[in-house]
């Protein structure tokens, strides 16, 4: 068994990070350039970490599968980024942001980590602003904010519906500055296919050059995974279609514990599926719920166009069920409520799997121009995809797989259970508990990359200054490369009948049906069998054309799907183990009389950190969650 030591510093909540920083070991500037750090992923966390570590003088090597670091999927985040600036004088502060996140995450996150990220949030906004990120502004020239789900203050900074793109391009620009300075070397179009562990420490990676097919070895004193989440396990999701879990999964198989894998956020406002061949679901930002009202017809089978349904025949079900937060309840609550209405037969649209998000009243009150200023690009995107005009008729939306709160287990230093292996951003599990609040992902990713990792990693690297450059000819590298080659050969040699995408689609359907918004023991057990069968079929009937020594997108896909199938099993295992409902994890067996999630704190107030155990069942390690500063309460938005 591994030991989980979260390494949370002593002291009052607000002093922990300061105390940690004061006591952390530093690396002499002259020694930094002799220390190599590998970073995989160039989103907000990865690019931020690369820039920050490069500025400090380390030798940084950065990898991504895209053709350019500017395309990492942080680019697609829409609505905003939170910070406790209190620019609106509405009573916001660090503690309130911390508390909103703890409550929003349904008391399944670590207090110390959450407080730290809330504390750092203001610095993130300062830094992005200095980098030239064009956040929305007031006429007086100061920064503008808006509200997001699950909170009652206005703390979300934004750049129209493209906040992720603007922040990512800011991070990309700071990464570029370091590439120019020579501290960072960029390796695009590379897939990480294994982690190399030597004497118990992460020392390198094996990657495949996606253009030439060459297998490359890269070594370092520390390895940082900034590889994002695994929402694409559902096939249809709001993620980029090439987003994958493979790097994190390889790390898991090399000893990094995987925490709360079943905690997946299903986002309430995505454009519904339009055709059977659809490859992804496009998100409509949560910020739309600031002004849009969500409703379905009051009467079953009311097929009239939305605009023809009078007020008295509309059911604004979020406003009805949750009068305090209304349309701004957290995502998990909004998603389940939409599913409940559609399952009960009140859904709208071609398939009945959609609800209305209506801007009629907002346009009447604020004028079309004001709405266009706030959401123009989102409305255009909606129109391009659906052919419908949201200025004139209600949008139709439905939940979609979006963000994974689960991820690699990390301690307070963001280090996994493999010494020298770090996980930052969405790739780790630490800050969002069982449900993430809107606009907190950019904040966490940027905070991890720019401000936390560079401090914590120096403590580890200070013990490595006597370790010379790591050779890539050691038996560990040999063996890892051999394993990678064998697997590629195996994938290519099956020559069955079904493409990797076909398997992915089938896996996604199983996961969506049984391990999605609502889960129960019977369904989960069934899913476990179905995934097991799918795995067997995959390894006997997969069809990958072409060769390994060439650009081969089908081969890339096959490797990713093989890992998704294994990860799916772990997600189901975790969901089965946690017999309570909390946040996005809704076990039908554990609900209140009015259908809300019911936690069982006495039994499940822990982080489930799963340890790979070869062909045997994974081992469950528990990190108890101690709440010293907040009182555990029923999470209510009524």
């Amino acid at each position: 068994m591994i030991t989980l030591n979260a390494k949370i510093p002593e002291g009052p909540l607000e002093e922990k990070w300061t105390r940690y920083k004061s006591g952390s070991k530093l690396v002499n500037p002259a020694n930094k350039k002799k220390l190599d750090i590998i970073i995989i992923g160039t989103g907000l966390s990865g690019a931020g970490a690369a820039a920050s570590l490069g500025e400090l003088g380390y030798s940084v090597k950065v990898f991504c599968y895209q053709d350019s670091p500017r395309r990492a999927h942080s680019v697609a985040a829409q609505g905003g980024i939170n910070a406790a600036k209190n620019y609106k004088n509405d009573g916001d502060n660090t503690y309130r942001l911390f508390y909103d996140m703890i409550k929003g995450g349904d008391f399944r996150a670590r207090e110390a980590n959450v407080y730290r990220i809330a504390d750092i949030s203001n610095q993130v906004i300062d830094h992005y602003t200095a980098l030239g990120v064009p956040f929305a502004r007031e006429y007086g020239g100061t920064l503008e904010t808006r509200s997001f789900g699950g909170v009652q203050v206005s703390r979300t900074f934004y750049a129209k519906g493209q906040t992720g793109q603007q922040c990512l391009l800011g991070a990309y620009s700071s990464l570029n500055r370091q590439i120019k300075a020579g501290t960072v070397t960029m390796y695009p179009r590379r897939d990480m296919l294994d982690l190399v562990v030597i004497d118990g420490k992460a020392r390198g990676i094996i990657v495949r050059n996606l253009i030439t097919g060459e297998i490359e070895r890269h070594s370092a004193h520390a390895v940082v995974l900034a590889t994002g989440g695994y929402g694409t396990v559902y096939y249809l999701s709001t993620l980029a279609v090439n987003s994958n879990a493979s790097a994190a999964w390889k790390a898991y198989k090399k000893g990094a514990a995987f925490a709360n894998p079943s905690f997946v956020q299903i986002h309430p406002t995505s454009i519904p599926q339009l055709n059977e061949f659809q490859s992804k679901l496009t998100l409509m930002s949560e910020s739309l719920r600031n002004d849009g009202r969500i409703w379905v017809p009051k009467n079953k089978g009311d097929n009239r166009p939305g605009n023809d349904i009078p007020e008295e025949d509309r059911d604004y079900y979020l406003e009805r069920r949750y009068p305090t937060f209304g349309n701004l309840v957290p995502r998990d609550v909004a998603s389940r409520a939409a599913k409940e209405r559609c399952d009960a037969g009140y859904g709208v649209g071609k398939t009945g799997l959609a609800v209305n998000l209506d801007f009629r009243d907002a346009i009447k009150k604020q004028g079309k121009k004001a709405i266009e200023n706030k959401y123009g690009n989102l409305f255009e995107m909606y129109r391009a995809i659906t052919g419908m005009n949201p200025y004139e008729e209600p949008m139709q939306i439905y939940p979609a797989g979006h963000y994974t709160m689960g991820g690699l287990w990390v301690d307070y230093e963001l280090m996994t259970t493999v010494p020298g292996l770090y996980a930052i951003g969405e790739a780790n599990f630490s800050d969002h508990g069982a449900n993430r609040l809107g606009a907190s992902s950019l904040m966490q990713a940027a905070g991890d990359g720019y401000f936390i990792l560079p401090v914590t990693i120096s403590g580890y690297l200070s013990g490595e200054i006597r370790t010379s450059r790591i050779s890539t000819t050691s038996p560990e590298f040999e063996e890892a490369e051999k394993g990678v080659r064998e697997r590629i050969d195996k994938l290519l040699s099956i020559r069955g009948k079904q493409t990797a995408s076909t398997f992915h689609k089938r896996l996604g359907k199983i996961m969506w049906d049984y391990c999605g918004m609502r889960r129960n023991e019977e369904g989960l057990k069934k899913a476990l069998n179905l995934v097991e069968e799918l795995k067997k079929e995959f390894w006997s009937d997969l069809l990958v054309p072409g060769e390994a020594s060439d650009l081969n997108q089908q081969l890339e896909k096959a490797g990713r799907v093989a890992d998704f199938i294994e990860l799916a099993k772990l997600m189901i295992t975790d969901a089965l183990n946690r017999k309570e409902s909390c946040g996005a994890h809704f076990r039908e067996e554990s609900q209140t009389d009015d259908g809300e999630a019911k936690r069982i704190d006495a039994e499940y107030s822990y982080v489930a950190a799963w340890e790979y155990n070869g062909d045997n069942e994974p081992v469950l390690n528990k990190e108890p969650l101690k709440f010293e500063f907040v009182e555990l309460k029923e999470r209510s938005y009524k």
Partner: protein
């Protein structure tokens, strides 16, 4: 709407050194609800299942923001509908029985890697040359200590939304990257944060643009017409102004 049958003429090229050629494919069962890339997914599924080589193309977010996808469709970068990336281009815009010609970006600075995939790393090298504000992590002042006129901030945003797809280069008869470069220069020129090193930035980026082999601008405006994010031509005017000021 019923499903459509299409004839596709697609550029196939094994690698950067090989000589490419058009290949023809007939594709049945295309739903008007599909995106253009989903139509290609269907083609590839059919090809793979029939034991044939699929068509390679870049794609990722499929929501018009990452800038990965991009192909020449019937003579237009990202196809005939203005303001859309290829991933957002719906098959509703095509007719049953239509022949669709699909090519990679054609520009010396964007060599073909395979089929419809080109190497756009020249864009990254231009950004590396100067597309940043030199502020070190930890050195930023309080965000509201920098006041920016709302109009300037909004204009900076309109320039900053470039997705780096390369359509402007592909559309230009000179294969010029001026719209791409001017978008970044404009964003920073409009903001007080970008003023300090404005001269160094514009000189470095323009020099690198030349080194990467992009052509010059002759004000045809094809880039603006084809930009999926509708970046405006006056960014190029601003770039020129910034460049003259830099010496």
């Amino acid at each position: 709407m019923p499903d459509m049958k299409l004839r596709l003429k697609i550029w196939k090229q094994k690698n950067a050194k090989a000589k490419g050629a058009f290949a023809s494919y007939d594709l049945d069962g295309v739903s008007p609800d599909m995106s253009f890339l989903e139509m290609l997914d269907l083609l590839n599924k059919n090809l793979v299942e029939a034991g044939k080589e699929p068509v390679a193309f870049d794609h990722d977010c499929r929501e018009g923001i990452c800038g990965s996808c991009g192909m020449f469709i019937n003579g237009y970068p990202h196809g005939p509908v203005p303001g859309l990336t290829t991933c957002h281009l719906s098959m509703r815009y095509f007719r049953d029985g239509e022949t669709i010609v699909i090519e990679p970006w054609r520009a010396k600075s964007f060599p073909v890697i395979k089929d419809l995939i080109v190497d756009r790393s020249a864009f990254d090298r231009i950004q590396v040359a100067g597309g940043f504000i030199s502020v070190t992590v930890g050195a930023a002042s309080e965000a509201n200590s920098i006041l920016v006129r709302k109009k300037n901030s909004d204009d900076a945003f309109d320039s900053a939304i470039c997705i780096g797809c390369g359509a402007c280069v592909a559309a230009c008869k000179n294969a010029s990257a001026m719209l791409f470069v001017s978008a970044k220069i404009s964003q920073f020129a409009l903001l007080p944060q970008g003023k300090t090193e404005a001269k160094e930035r514009v000189r470095a980026m323009i020099a690198e643009m030349g080194m990467q082999g992009f052509g010059n601008c002759s004000n045809t405006g094809a880039c603006e017409a084809q930009c999926p994010k509708q970046i405006k031509l006056f960014n190029i005017a601003r770039l020129n102004r910034e460049y003259y000021k830099a010496f």
